[in-house]
Symmetry: C2
Subunit: 436 residues, 2 copies
Amino acid sequence: MNASPAFEFSRSSLQPVPAQRACRIALLGFGTVGRSVATILQGGSFPQLRLDMIYNRRVDRKRVPWVSPQVRWTDDLEEVLASDADVVLELAGGLEPAYSWVKRALLLGKSVVTANKKLIAAHGPELLDLARQQGCRLEFGAAVAGGVPVLCGVSPGLSGDRLLKLCGILNGTCNYILHAMESRGVTLDAALREAQQRGYAEADPSDDVDGLDARAKLAILVRTGFHLQADPQQIATQSIWPVQPADFRYARELGCTIRQVARAELKAGTLLAEVAPTVVSAGSPLGSARNNQNVLVTTGKYGGETVFAGAGAGGAPTAVAVVSDLLAVAESRAAANCGPALVAVPVSNDFRCRHYVRVTPAQTTDAVAALRRTLTSGGISLRGLLHHPDPHDRRPSLALVVEECSTHALEKALTQVQEAGLLAEPAVRMPMVTTS
Amino acid sequence: MNASPAFEFSRSSLQPVPAQRACRIALLGFGTVGRSVATILQGGSFPQLRLDMIYNRRVDRKRVPWVSPQVRWTDDLEEVLASDADVVLELAGGLEPAYSWVKRALLLGKSVVTANKKLIAAHGPELLDLARQQGCRLEFGAAVAGGVPVLCGVSPGLSGDRLLKLCGILNGTCNYILHAMESRGVTLDAALREAQQRGYAEADPSDDVDGLDARAKLAILVRTGFHLQADPQQIATQSIWPVQPADFRYARELGCTIRQVARAELKAGTLLAEVAPTVVSAGSPLGSARNNQNVLVTTGKYGGETVFAGAGAGGAPTAVAVVSDLLAVAESRAAANCGPALVAVPVSNDFRCRHYVRVTPAQTTDAVAALRRTLTSGGISLRGLLHHPDPHDRRPSLALVVEECSTHALEKALTQVQEAGLLAEPAVRMPMVTTS
């Protein structure tokens, strides 16, 4: 029962800060979240936090009259680093120059709060280590699920459990799109344009739609929840692009709907992980997520399923997570706690689960029989088949529900089906995931 | 923008603990939760935690062979206090002798982890203050919602928001009973007996059924979320005893169901708070809570609604919360952080909301007309009336849905109706609460 060498007590080596002195904040990036943070800090609820400086490129475009005149606006990063700010709040996003800025701030002994999932997914362990060496803090609660406190919910919240599964909706843009398709029958294109008009989706939405944004967040969650270091680029992603209104019609018949789900599971020493459009029960926490909500369902060996849900995107909710982190830094001088050492792990997406597969047969009758034979000889059993052609569909499609099987075996069988010329269009495969 | 005098940086004044030494734990109370904690600690996942001692009255009854022989069993509390345990884990429950034990442990400089909501509701601020003076920790994450990390979700998780409402299902026993009534049409009596057989409900279930358990938890949440000190005894409670199968039939017609809901809301400097059987939307997070689940929905000025849900009762989930707290104590030597100073606040239950009222008129036709007149002259508007007598009901009842009004005004009008002899049985009033 001795402590393992991997465990170390965290050190509290920061210089004492005089009690009752407000914590000075330099904000990098005055976009949607930055403006919301400034609004909250100016609201008077948190006198222990003082916004001292706002940095932005071409800062004159950004100036707003409602920010206190005591705040200094600058477009010179050196001025920020030379200031007496206690905390650098990085809201610029992206890998560079954010990475260099955060590193320089930590090297100067300044604590850092960031909402940058890309940065933390790629460089989190290294930056946490640096923060600890420097006796300062690095907090990134806003990097996953915006206003929903999932990272602190998982650790320290559920640190006493042994987590087995993480399953979540971590991208508000995709959820907005898929929920619009579900509730109003619009196409993905139309829903995406709507999301862009409302400011939820970027002009280039591929990071969201193709799953790269959710993948970075999943990699951070895997570290926090499983103490495993997975290369985000090893996590398989499926775009939501192929999802069509027909898929929602079939899903509804199954009592289900479709969401972009990020999930990870520990199985016999391997990390299974994937981000993909997924068929989920309509009444489940994942299926109930509306608009740009985020949800995380954790499954623990002892505690069972725990659900965290709320506003995952948007300026104000993300700003809540940022301000919570600022308070944590201001109210405790403990250095960054890296938690247990991370163990590197290979990643696979060979989940065993039920699948939904939409196929558009080349010639209806013959092709379907041949398709069934190919699947069966690949060890894939059909659980059911749905066929309700929409009069507007140019080529009628079928939906197959496939019994629990290896994802890779199913992919292989579908490739054979495709290569045998049985399909007029590539098959659309989605895992079916059950949470309570 | 200076720090208010109410804010103080927390102190980190504990004696340094040699790195890599396991944290020594003395467990008080070897009941359901205590056994689950011992199971987790013996599972090998947490080498930084070492169970050294188990105290229980008449400890020989409690001994089990699966506990490591290195653990000392005792029924002498003085032996616990004289030991070199770093943390006293109080799982005995109740106000005394738990209060004295915790106080003595803190005075000896031992940190304390407890799942005792009664103790924390009644003496939390005083004990936290003592822990801080002594440079040690007092953690009670398991006191509210068992395995669902709602306290750390609210603070630090949502500390950057300004919370306006807390609304939750905080008692697993009542939820088990009401969910059984909803899903299987059984009476409250039968559901309670079932809960007792499954070990969810105590032999004397009145603390659960009458709302006293949920009230203690709500008082703790109000402190954590609103930084307000409300006397738990000032929080109004309504028992779930009067809830009948007929109420579930009427609720279903309204697209609703019934749960024991604890809620608190800040309104113009007053704290509105109450624990009561409540009509909630069937598909909402509160209405979806099954069996002995717990749910908390917070509403923040900036982040909107956030939902926490999961296993709120039972040995293993509660043990997860306890072990998470033990890890927090082991991994950081920072003294207890009291957070912002608490402001005492008077409590009212005069919520303005819609209500459901079930009445059993004395003489059907005349009484109903007189009842409507009395309500109307009290400023109470009816939104609708449901009447589907069950052939088994001895006396047929009506359900009224009352437009949003003051709870006190409605109570007054119902008292008048009762005193005028218009009712054969007292009216059953339940608030109707909407969350997204």
